[in-house]
Symmetry: C2
Subunit: 384 residues, 2 copies
């Protein structure tokens, strides 16, 4: 068994659901178990572990926050029933890459909290706190579906931008590729599409499904359904991505017209102008349909992330270093995207043969993962 396969097996069953996917929400028991595993791996390698007061964990080969340190790593948390590679692959690979270096270097491994936003609704929450892109107060007040706040889950008010991140020389995040864009084992990231999530609340009048005449209805499920289809059409027209993957109806009873339907729009596009145009078109059509249905629509932007271009020189250098590895953009958000506004940042992608991510079918071969470890080790050695 390769050292990758052996180390991977240690965490493969943690938080695994009967679906085959993972339930590893931030700061819940499976993710806490993974954090303990992280501490154990660091200790085994003589690395110092620190926590930044925001829920982010770091393991240091040298002094914590020593100037010139290169940070690698990723996140443990998953979307509901997500795949096992999205996040953990970058952390497992980081430990194995450190093992390959001939001597101790100024290298650190990070495990960022709540990257997916699967529990508290704001993706990259840990890296946003670390870089001051969200205030501790706002982050602390975010609630999960059970009404637990991030502050309560963390056990304290986050400390926010308290660490000297300017001491980091670079951040390199290794991640499973999430489309079908990579035909060799490893690629280098160029950019992240601008993206955002918008909560749309469609309000109508709750009523009896059996007795209310069709013409008397103000049924928000109709406006919601029309908006789902509009978003899909507009995304295809503009070459963007739009998804409504989460929905809640109230009272959600078979024999009652809903009084409220909540739908979340996830939209991404190649540039901000395209994304803005997409959102404008979708909301315009939604409001027109609301007029027809006698319903009302309110929209809250839960998070909007501008386009990220990773350090172009660094990407070119890593591509050459890795034997002309392909350079490719991604539609997915990452902590690397948040950190890229503050320090030189790069991503390495490992091939995903199914192209599936955020679902149990997400996968990567052990051979490709091992190639990812070698590539990361090469990069870390070159940068330190």
């Amino acid at each position: 068994m390769s050292d990758f396969a052996a180390l991977w097996a240690e965490i493969a069953e943690i938080g695994r659901a009967s679906s085959g996917g993972y339930l590893r929400y931030a700061l819940t028991p499976p993710e806490l178990t993974l954090r303990d595993w992280f501490r154990g791996q660091a200790q085994r390698r003589g690395m110092t572990v620190t926590e930044d007061g925001n829920g982010n964990l770091f393991a240091w080969c040298d002094e914590p926050w020593a100037p010139g340190t290169v940070l690698t790593g990723s996140h443990f948390d998953s979307v509901p029933h997500g795949g096992g590679y999205d996040g953990p692959l970058g952390i497992v690979s980081a430990f194995l890459a450190v093992d390959r270096l001939p001597e101790r270097r100024k290298i650190a491994i990070g495990a960022f909290v709540e990257e997916e936003g699967g529990r508290f609704g704001v993706p990259c929450l840990g890296s946003r706190l670390l870089t001051g892109m969200i205030t501790p107060e706002k982050a602390a007040a975010l609630t999960d579906r059970d009404g637990v706040t991030f502050g309560e889950a963390l056990g304290s008010l986050p400390t926010g931008k308290s660490a000297p991140i300017e001491n980091l020389a670079a951040f390199v995040e290794l991640h499973i590729e999430q489309g079908r864009a990579l035909e060799v084992p490893v690629g280098v990231g160029s950019a992240i599409w601008p993206h955002g999530r918008w909560r749309m609340e469609f309000t109508g009048t709750g009523d009896h499904a059996g007795t209310t005449r069709m013409t008397d209805r103000r049924d928000p499920m109709l406006t919601f359904a029309h908006t789902v289809l509009s978003a899909n059409q507009e995304a295809r027209l503009t070459g963007a991505h739009a998804t409504v993957g989460r929905v809640e109806a109230e009272p959600n009873a078979t024999n009652a017209i809903p009084s409220l339907v909540r739908g979340w729009l996830d939209a991404r596009a190649v540039d901000t102008a395209t994304l803005d145009r997409l959102l404008e078109s979708v909301l315009k059509r939604a409001n027109e349909r609301a007029g027809v249905d006698g319903t009302e629509l309110s929209v809250v932007a839960e998070s909007v992330t501008a386009e990220v271009a990773f350090d172009t020189e660094l990407a070119r250098r890593l591509s050459v270093l890795l034997g002309d590895a392909p350079i490719l953009p991604t539609g997915a958000g990452h902590d690397a995207g948040v950190l890229s506004a503050h320090l030189p940042t790069a991503m390495l992608f490992v091939r995903n043969p199914t192209g599936v991510s955020h679902a149990p079918a997400e996968s990567a071969s052990d051979e490709d993962c091992a190639a990812g470890v070698e590539a990361l080790a090469t990069v870390l050695e070159s940068l330190t």
Copy 2:
């Protein structure tokens, strides 16, 4: 304060949610509290209380199941955040009507369990068990959203058709009217539209919302949304009622294309042929769209109830007795509809000024409710 207002106030806060609506699911604490209240009311009037082994409660002025007994009553359970009148009005009115009779008659008051199907999915479950229209085994195995079975909630296997219902001379259910069909305080029911509920499961491929190309998607939310709009259009075209009020997505994450969307179709029409035609059209269009989306659709009929015509002679007689009260059909299912296949059955409707039902805005004036009590007393006196 009228005796109606006083008695109504005793139960008005039981199971009331902050929405103003009620959470009175069958055999949960609020409904169990109402059942205790029922026993107390019966005791106060010297009525014998029996339970039929299916969860249905009866209070008897005379010997239980004495031949010639006229049964009245309704149900306590609500849809989620439903109004307070749908069900309980018929039980409260029954006790007050009994109070108005000059001497003891062969009259019984029933409180049927799980009329709404709001907890276990099959409406009129209590009356279906009592009349043998569902087997005890099938009923016992029905589960609520937490996986609790009806058998577990009841504490035993239901006894099914164990009571001599042929001894009942008639059943008269008083109920709030649920549309805007009544312009006087009290009307008489003629028929219940045939109706049913179908669970539609749309299956696709879960995937990452950010990275999956629009053309690579098999997104079941699209097929669901299209079907919601089709059902609405087809219902309008056929003069029927169709509603999708309940939806569940998996994994229900903002940044994941769903692998599965479940939607429940509630459909009702003036006759069975129209209902069948409606369902056929909706499912044909849903399957066509599934072909476009690359998704799959499976449909389970959770309950289908044929058209019910109440006893025509009895309805005419009651209308005359109540001063030519209007005779009207309803799109809503009722225990009276189930019992009508087994004994002479009638319904009295009390005016609903908002026309809203299954929602907090459902209401009836105290004056109209008092008129309902008088009408029910007149009817019970005439029938016994």
